[in-house]
Structure formats: structure tokens, C-alpha cells
């Protein structure tokens, strides 16, 4: 009898190759450590950076003579500036020769209450009145109104373009095909990256801030509107056509009304995106609460940062509640409508005429107590919990961040590049390998290779943490309705909050380090990943899960052998989105001690001679994003097919 081959556990060939590559890398790293790392000192510049600086200077010099600027960019800037200034004049800034805005606090509160009442009902109206009064009590009335003005201006312009474009993309397949990749690109681009080029064309200030906000906030409106139009049932449209409706009639009487609820949801997304971007645009001198937070972060004044962060949250909650509730069909009784209108009119008139109704009274104020409380709490935490916070910080830093960063940033650049290209080829084949090679080439050209590697290391660590959190919490939520009910609102709230707000407590706990930036990114990215995974787990057919249970699987077996494999698509999507969200926090991380690319970008905003370097760092972030996005998508394709 012939010997029977003993079945051996096979290790897939690909895994062996990957292992081999990593081992070879480690060996070569030991040999070539700190050789050819393309390090660049913080104040050092490359010719490219200097050239961008000179372009910047040249643009600055010719801003008022070059026809492109004179008749195009300057015109846009003027129109937008005027519009923003007009909204600010109404509610935020002293205007028209008056010491106060046209509509004082009482008027704004009344208008907010009335609008909420009309579109969202009594409860939400009470909430928004309380919220707005609270902003005043915090001593941040004017800053809040500046933020609100900028947000509203950006939202109005975004919707003015976004909704018609969305309708077009909803009606025409061709338009949709053209717009989808553009929108994808706009949304994957880390938010801060376009701030720098924008300032080149539109100067620092409200116009650039508004345009940056537009870029960030318009895609959801376009996308959701198009989706809403597309998801109107075909038979409804057909019925309308069969009755002889023209295209216009079908659009106005069938498509838009049926899509209304979803479109309002798009408006909600646009408003929330705009609010979060407006606060971030403080980096390019946008007025408002964001500026207060940035200044406070720079001086490590946690109390002030917390107070202003809280105001942003309050504003976010009010705007979110009002627009969410507005999706429901609702009619106000006539008397309430006219009564509300009358009261609002009187309040606006008072706030126009009397100083007490125009300027928020400064004697009633809780802002300073909030500041002191937050400072005290922070000090207490820093004094009494260092064992836990520092222990955790040191653990993650020494186990994950340091080794990875050493490997990426201290290897010769060609070695890292070779490894990445080889891995890309193994993961996705020729095309991703080419994309990676091109991206790496651009990284070298920016002159910021080592910074990019440090940022890459932090990004990978943050993404790993996001995925761990995502799988653990996502599976839990996907399997337990009760967990879902409790956790989901928290995640929703987390997503609504502008990114800056997280920084404050995290900064207080962990002080300004790389680790703080990573945690901020994780907090920012985790809700998305968790939700995607939870929905993926929930989407696994209950029949399959039931069958697995009937076969006697334990919960663990069901999770590992049925639910997670069947939710593969969700897992890869979560990893992809997690990465992108983490990357978009890189610049924010630069504010709290992440160094590397994030710091380069931030420094570029504030110091003229570093402008070119900041811009290059922005490009490097985008390139990293493109590379990681392509790679994860290629991996996802491989894995799910």
C-alpha cells in the first residue's frame, strides 16, 4: 500500500511571501537604519517649497493687476465676502453705523424659536430657544453668531448649487456618471488640505473659509438629492407619465415631493458638515467659535477651549434637531403661525431698537464658571489619574507607535518604497502597484518623505485601533438590539460634533503628544466604522444565523465563522472609511502635538516662509490618502470576491 499523505495545515503561499517580505525588511532595517531617510528639519526648506513660496509672493503681488484675479477670483471673493458680511451684519457684527448688529440677541432667539416651531414642533422650538440663550450665557454670543453666519452663508450657497446639481444627477445617468467620481474625490480629500491652495486664490478670511466649507458641505447635498430622486419608485413615475404628465410636471409634482424627506436629510448633512468645517476654517482666520478654540488650544487653555467647544456642540445639537425634525410632514395651526410671527416681529423690533435686547446682558453669565470648572476638572484628572492615562499612553506608544514609526521612518526610503510596491502588487495586482509607485514618487518629490512616514505610522496605528473598536462594538451592536439602541445615539452625536470639540478633553487627559492626536483620530473615525460593521452584522441573513445555531454553534463560533465572514464587505468598507477619516484628522492632530505632516500644514498657515512647505505637506496627505484608499479598495475587491 502506498503511503497516505498526512493532511497538513496549508499556509497560503501569499501569506508566506508577505511574511518573507516583512522579515527581509526587518533585516535590512537593522543594516541600513537611519540611512537615506530623507529627513528634513522643521525649519528646513527644499527648492520646491521655496518655489511655491515665490509663486505665493508673485500671486500676492499681482493679485490686483493680473486679469485672472481681477475679473475672476477677486470677483468671486468679493461676492462671497459681501454675502457673508451681509449675514454677519444682520446677526453678528456691528453694522450700518450702529454699535450693534441689525438683529440683536432677542430677535435671533425669537426667529430661531419660530422657525423651529414651524418646521419642527414645540419641543424642538423650546430646545433651540434654550440653546441660543445658553450660547449668550456662556459669554460667546458674538462668536456663536459669527459661526452661525458663516455656516448659514455657506449652506445657502451650497444648496443653491447642490440641489439643482443633485436633481440633474438624479435625472440623468450621464450627469451622474460624471459627478460621482468628482464627489468621491471631494469627500475623500482630507478637509484641511484645500485650505492652503484656497488661500492662494482667495486670501485668508471669510471668503476662503466659506469656499472651503462649500467644498466640504456641498457633496452630501448633491449626493443625497440625486439618491432621493433616483429612489422614487418607478411605478409612481410611470403612473404619472401614463396620465400624460410632461417631464416638468412629473419632476415638480411627483419626484420632488416624493423625494422631499430625503432631500431635507441631505440639507441636514450639509448643515452639519458646514458647521464642522466653519470651526476648522478658523485655521485660515475664519471668525467665530473655532477661532476661540484654536487660540485656546495653542495656549493650552483647556477651560476656554472647553467653553467654546461646548458652544459648538450646543449649536450643532440645535441645528441637527431642527433639520432632522423637519423631515416629518407637519402643519402648524393658523393661530400659532400668526401668533408666533407676531411675537417674533415684536422681538426683532425690540432687538433693533433697544440696547438691552440687542446686546446679550453681560451681568448674567455662566461662561467663566464653565471655564473654571473645566480647568479644575482637568487639573484634578491630570493630578489624580496619571497612572491610568499615562500607563495607557505609554503602552500604546511603546508597543505600537514607536516600533512602527521606527520601521517606516528610519528605513531608507527606497526600501520602504520597494516594500510598499511589492505589497500593493501582492494585494491587488499591477494596477495598485503602479498607483502606489506613483504616489510614493510624489511623496519623495514633496521633500517630506520622513514626515510622511511618521504620519503614515500614526495613521496605521489609529486605523488598527479604529478597527478593533469597530469590530468589538460593531459586533456587539449588530447582535444585540438593546446595545444598538443605547450606543447608536452616542455615535450619532459623536459624528455630528465638529472635530475640534474632541480635542479639548483628550488634550486635557493626555497633553500634547502623538498619542493624543491618534486618540483624537480614533474618536473621530470609530463611530463610522462601528456603524458600518454593526449594519453589516445585522444584515447577515437571520436564516443563516439560525441554521448555524441549530447546528450547535456557540456564540463565538457563530460570530467568527458566520457573521464576520458574511459581513466581509462591511468590514472592508469600515477599514477604508476608517482610514480616510483618520487621515482627515492628521492636520487637527498637528495642533495637538502630532508633528510631521499635520504640523507642517498648520505651520504653513501661520508662517509665511513655511507656506510652500505647508502646501507640500497638504499634497503629501492627499497622496497618502489616495494610495491607502486605492489599496484598501483593491484588497476589499480581492477579499470579497
Amino acid at each position: 500500500m502506498v503511503a497516505v499523505a498526512v493532511p497538513r495545515r496549508q499556509i497560503p503561499r501569499k501569506a508566506l511571501i508577505v511574511g518573507g517580505i516583512v522579515l527581509a525588511w526587518l533585516a535590512l532595517w537593522l543594516v541600513f537604519r537611519n540611512v537615506g531617510t530623507l529627513a528634513l528639519d522643521a525649519s528646513e526648506l527644499t527648492p520646491l517649497h521655496r518655489w511655491v513660496n515665490s509663486v505665493n509672493d508673485a500671486v500676492g503681488a499681482s493679485r490686483n493687476s493680473n486679469p485672472v484675479f481681477l475679473y475672476f477670483f477677486n470677483e468671486i471673493r468679493l461676492v462671497i465676502d459681501e454675502f457673508v458680511r451681509f449675514v454677519q451684519a444682520l446677526i453678528a457684527q456691528p453694522s450700518f453705523g450702529r454699535p450693534v448688529p441689525v438683529i440683536g440677541w432677542l430677535g435671533v432667539v425669537a426667529i430661531a424659536g419660530f422657525v423651529s416651531l414651524a418646521v419642527a414642533g414645540w419641543r424642538v422650538a423650546l430646545l433651540s430657544v434654550a440653546g441660543f440663550v445658553f450660547l449668550g450665557l456662556q459669554g460667546l454670543w458674538q462668536e456663536s453668531m459669527d459661526t452661525l453666519s458663516l455656516t448659514l452663508a455657506a449652506v445657502v450657497i451650497a444648496l443653491l448649487f447642490g440641489i439643482p446639481l443633485g436633481i440633474w444627477a438624479g435625472l440623468s445617468d450621464r450627469a451622474n456618471r460624471v459627478m460621482t467620481p468628482v464627489l468621491d474625490f471631494m469627500q475623500t480629500m482630507p478637509t484641511f488640505v484645500y485650505l492652503a491652495p484656497l488661500t492662494l486664490f482667495f486670501l485668508i478670511g471669510p471668503a476662503s473659509a466659506t469656499i472651503a466649507t462649500l467644498i466640504y458641505a456641498a457633496p452630501p447635498a448633491i449626493r443625497i438629492t440625486a439618491h432621493a430622486i433616483r429612489s422614487v419608485p418607478h411605478n409612481t413615475v410611470e403612473a404619472s407619465e401614463s396620465l400624460g404628465a410632461t417631464r416638468k410636471q412629473t419632476l415638480l409634482k411627483v419626484l420632488l415631493p416624493s423625494a422631499r424627506k430625503t432631500i431635507v436629510l441631505g440639507v441636514n448633512q450639509t448643515i452639519m458638515a458646514a458647521l464642522s468645517m466653519v470651526t476648522i476654517a478658523a485655521l485660515i482666520d475664519a471668525p467665530g467659535l473655532g477661532k476661540t478654540v484654536v487660540k485656546a488650544l495653542q495656549t493650552l487653555d483647556v477651560g476656554t477651549a472647553f467653553n467654546a467647544g461646548l458652544a459648538i456642540v450646543v449649536l450643532a445639537i440645535v441645528l441637527d434637531r431642527v433639520t432632522t425634525a423637519a423631515t416629518e410632514r407637519r402643519t402648524l395651526p393658523r393661530w400659532a403661525l400668526f401668533g408666533g410671527l407676531g411675537v417674533t416681529g415684536v422681538a426683532v423690533y425690540f432687538s433693533y431698537t433697544y440696547l438691552w435686547a440687542a446686546e446679550f446682558p453681560s451681568e448674567v453669565e455662566i461662561g467663566s464658571s464653565i471655564r473654571q470648572g473645566a480647568t479644575a476638572a482637568t487639573e484634578w484628572v491630570q493630578d489624580s489619574l496619571p497612572v491610568i492615562t499615562n500607563g495607557f499612553k505609554d503602552f500604546v506608544t511603546s508597543v505600537l507607535i514607536n516600533p512602527l514609526q521606527a520601521l517606516l521612518a528610519e528605513s531608507p526610503w527606497f526600501l520602504v518604497a520597494l516594500v510598499i510596491v511589492a505589497l500593493s502588487f501582492l494585494i491587488g495586482g499591477v494596477k495598485p502597484a503602479v498607483v502606489s509607485a506613483a504616489c510614493l514618487g510624489v511623496l519623495v518629490a514633496t521633500g517630506l518623505w520622513q514626515d510622511a512616514m511618521i504620519t503614515l505610522a500614526s495613521t496605521l496605528v489609529a486605523t488598527i485601533l479604529v478597527m478593533i473598536l469597530g469590530v468589538v462594538v460593531g459586533v456587539w451592536m449588530g447582535r444585540s438590539r438593546r446595545a444598538d439602541r443605547f450606543i447608536r445615539p452616542v455615535l450619532d452625536a459623536g459624528q455630528v460634533m465638529p472635530a475640534f470639540v474632541y480635542l479639548v478633553p483628550i488634550l486635557a487627559l493626555f497633553s500634547a503628544t502623538r498619542f493624543t492626536a491618534i486618540i483624537a483620530a480614533v474618536v473621530f473615525a470609530a463611530p463610522v466604522a462601528i456603524k458600518i460593521i454593526a449594519d453589516g452584522i445585522r444584515g447577515v441573513s437571520p436564516a443563516t444565523v439560525e441554521a448555524s445555531t441549530a447546528l450547535g454553534s456557540s456564540s463565538w463560533q457563530t460570530i467568527v465563522k458566520v457573521q464576520l465572514p458574511m459581513a466581509r464587505r462591511a468590514l472592508t468598507l469600515a477599514a477604508n472609511q476608517g482610514l480616510i477619516y483618520v487621515l482627515s484628522m492628521v492636520v487637527v492632530g498637528g495642533l495637538v502635538g502630532a508633528g510631521a505632516l499635520g504640523y507642517d500644514v498648520v505651520a504653513g498657515f501661520s508662517q509665511g516662509q513655511l507656506y510652500g512647505k505647508g502646501l507640500a505637506a497638504g499634497v503629501a496627505i492627499v497622496v497618502l490618502g489616495v494610495m491607502l484608499d486605492r489599496l484598501t479598495q483593491a484588497a476589499a475587491k480581492r477579499w470579497t470576491n
Partner: protein, 340 residues
């Protein structure tokens, strides 16, 4: 009487090379699957001919995928036919421009859909008045007409409800009222009751029969349910793979199926409910006593059972005084027993 609708050699091919297919006699003679393999095109409707008489209830019956829904959409050009003619009151609809087509849809025909296609954001009254609104009828006039048809279909009292507050049967009544509101000449029904449960479906069928009797409109009714077809149809067209298999009255289909496909189809039909005496009568034999009772050849077997069995002589089948044949116990029992 001239037909209201006259369809001639109608083709609908889905696919980018549709016009090539209809231009080639060779390709047109291929079966569906062969055509699919050769050209990638799908032939949904293949050379269909039929006429619909004024006031007729014309039923198109076929299984899913037979092309019946595409056919009815071609008739109003919701789906653009590839080739053929559709004469409507003497006018070839396929030549109508967009404006004329809209005109026809607004005034001449209307359609009731399987999934209702109601507008969720409008009340029942506004849904019913939608067609009139599109035509530009002022609100005040719309109200009166809407109310009329709402009453007609038995929805009185629900004018202010929204579609999602109504049951499926009620929603389809709204669809029916909407179609009737414009006072069209022809009503098209695309499997209107398939989504309803059996009891409601029976109610709605009776409702349509009643409406047909009351308003006397020409109706073209699509269904996959043979009993529905037999219950409603003055004439029935059976479709298979995009082609017409047979056109005829219910008793013709059951009594003289054109091929095995139709025979198989009508196998389970209770024949005594459908067949008339002319299908079962026999020529008189010399020993028959011909002084028994007389019945018309159109009498349905079920209704003749009692008189035939209670008579001690064969029943004579007579039209206009002419003796066509006789029916005795054995013929009747042959039909009734054959069903068991």
C-alpha cells in the same frame, strides 16, 4: 363595428441592436433563447396582432416573462415599441409626436398599475385629481369630478386619507378612480389585482365587472390568472414567449385549445362553468325523440344541468328555430364527471 384598437405585427426588442433584429426576417424567426445567444437582444413582444372592439373587455393572459406587461406598455408607449402599428380610433399611435401622445394619455386612455403607483404625499382626493391637474383643470372643477369617481369606486369618506393609511384593496380603488377621473375611452389594467389577497381580489374583480357594465368603457386587462381571465374577459388572448398562442372567448379556449400549451393551461378549469351547449351537443340520432325542451347553444353547461337531467327526452339545441343538435344525460355527465 370598427375596432378601437388594432395592433399589427407589433415587436418590442430590448437591446442595443433592436432595429437590426426586426429588419432581418431570419433573426425574427429565431426563438427567444436563440436570439439572446446570437445577438444579446431580448425579444419581449414578437409580431403580435389583435383587435379590440368598442366596449369590449379584452384580456391578455400569460405567465410571467410572457411579455404581457411589455405589450400593454407598448400600447400607450410607456415602452417604445420597436416595430409594428398600433391604430387607435384610426390613428397610428406610433407616429404621434410627444405632444400628441401626451394629449392621448391625458384624454383618451389611462392605466391602472399592479403596484398602484400612488403619490404618497397626496390625499386620496388629490391623487384622484392628479390627472385632471396635469391637464390644467382648475381646482374647483377637479373637486367635483374627483368626488364623482371616488363615489363610483366606493371610496366615499376616505377623500382626506393618505395612501399609506389605506389597505391594498382600497389603494387600488384609488388607482382605479384616478384612471376613471379623466373619462378616458380605453382603460388599461396591468395585473391590477395580483398584489391583493384572494378575497379582496374577488371583490375587486366584481367591482371591475360592475364598472364595465356601468360606464361601458373599452378595457384591456392583463393578468396571469386564468380564472380571472375567464371571469372578466369577453375575449382572451393567450401569450407565450412574446407571441400570441390563441385569441378567443373563454369557451373557445377550453373547448378548442389551439395547442398543447393552451390545453395544459385550461386543464384544471371547471369545464361546466365555461363550456356552452354548442361544445357538447351531438347531432340527433334517428332514435332520439325530438319533442323535448329547447335551449340556446350559448347556455353554459352548469346552467343546463338541471333541465337536461330532469327531462326524460334529449334537450334540443336550437338557434333561430334551427335545430343544431341535441344534448342528453350522457353529454352532460361527460363534462361534469370529467372534472372530478
Amino acid at each position: 363595428m370598427d375596432p378601437v384598437i388594432s395592433v399589427g405585427n407589433l415587436w418590442k426588442i430590448f437591446g442595443s441592436n433592436a432595429s437590426q433584429v426586426v429588419a432581418s426576417d431570419e433573426l425574427k424567426s429565431l426563438s427567444r433563447t436563440e436570439l439572446m445567444d446570437r445577438t444579446g437582444a431580448v425579444a419581449a413582444v414578437r409580431g403580435v396582432d389583435f383587435d379590440v372592439a368598442p366596449g369590449e373587455m379584452f384580456v391578455v393572459m400569460g405567465l410571467s416573462g410572457s411579455g404581457k406587461s411589455t405589450l400593454v406598455r407598448c400600447l400607450t408607449r410607456l415602452v417604445e415599441p420597436t416595430a409594428g402599428t398600433i391604430m387607435f380610433e384610426g390613428e397610428n399611435i406610433l407616429e404621434a409626436d410627444a405632444k400628441r401622445l401626451r394629449d392621448l394619455r391625458r384624454n383618451k386612455f389611462s392605466m391602472v398599475f399592479q403596484h398602484f403607483g400612488l403619490l404618497p404625499h397626496r390625499t386620496v382626493a388629490d391623487n384622484v385629481g392628479y390627472g385632471l391637474e396635469i391637464r390644467g383643470v382648475p381646482r374647483a372643477k377637479r373637486g367635483g369630478r374627483s368626488q364623482e369617481v371616488i363615489d363610483l369606486v366606493g371610496l366615499t369618506g376616505y377623500e382626506k386619507s393618505y395612501p399609506d393609511q389605506l389597505s391594498g384593496g382600497m389603494q387600488q380603488r384609488v388607482g382605479l378612480a384616478r384612471a376613471l377621473a379623466g373619462d378616458p375611452d380605453v382603460l388599461f389594467f396591468d395585473e391590477p389585482f395580483s398584489a391583493l389577497d384572494p378575497l379582496i381580489r374577488r371583490d375587486m374583480q366584481s367591482e371591475v365587472i360592475r364598472l364595465h357594465r356601468e360606464v361601458g368603457k373599452t378595457m384591456v386587462f392583463i393578468t396571469h390568472d386564468l380564472s380571472e381571465a375567464l371571469k372578466l374577459g369577453d375575449r382572451i388572448l393567450i401569450m407565450r414567449d412574446g407571441q400570441v398562442v390563441q385569441v378567443g372567448t373563454g369557451d373557445e379556449l377550453v373547448g378548442a385549445p389551439a395547442d398543447d400549451y393552451v390545453r395544459d393551461f385550461v386543464k384544471d378549469v371547471p369545464r361546466s362553468h365555461v363550456l356552452t351547449l354548442k361544445w357538447i351537443m351531438r347531432p340527433p340520432r334517428p332514435d332520439d325523440e325530438l319533442d323535448g325542451p329547447e335551449l340556446s347553444p350559448e347556455t353554459v353547461v352548469r346552467e343546463a344541468v338541471r333541465s337536461v337531467l330532469s327531462a326524460d327526452k334529449p334537450v334540443k339545441v336550437v338557434r333561430d328555430g334551427e335545430l343544431l343538435g341535441v344534448v342528453a344525460d350522457e353529454e352532460i355527465l361527460g363534462v361534469v364527471a370529467g372534472e372530478a
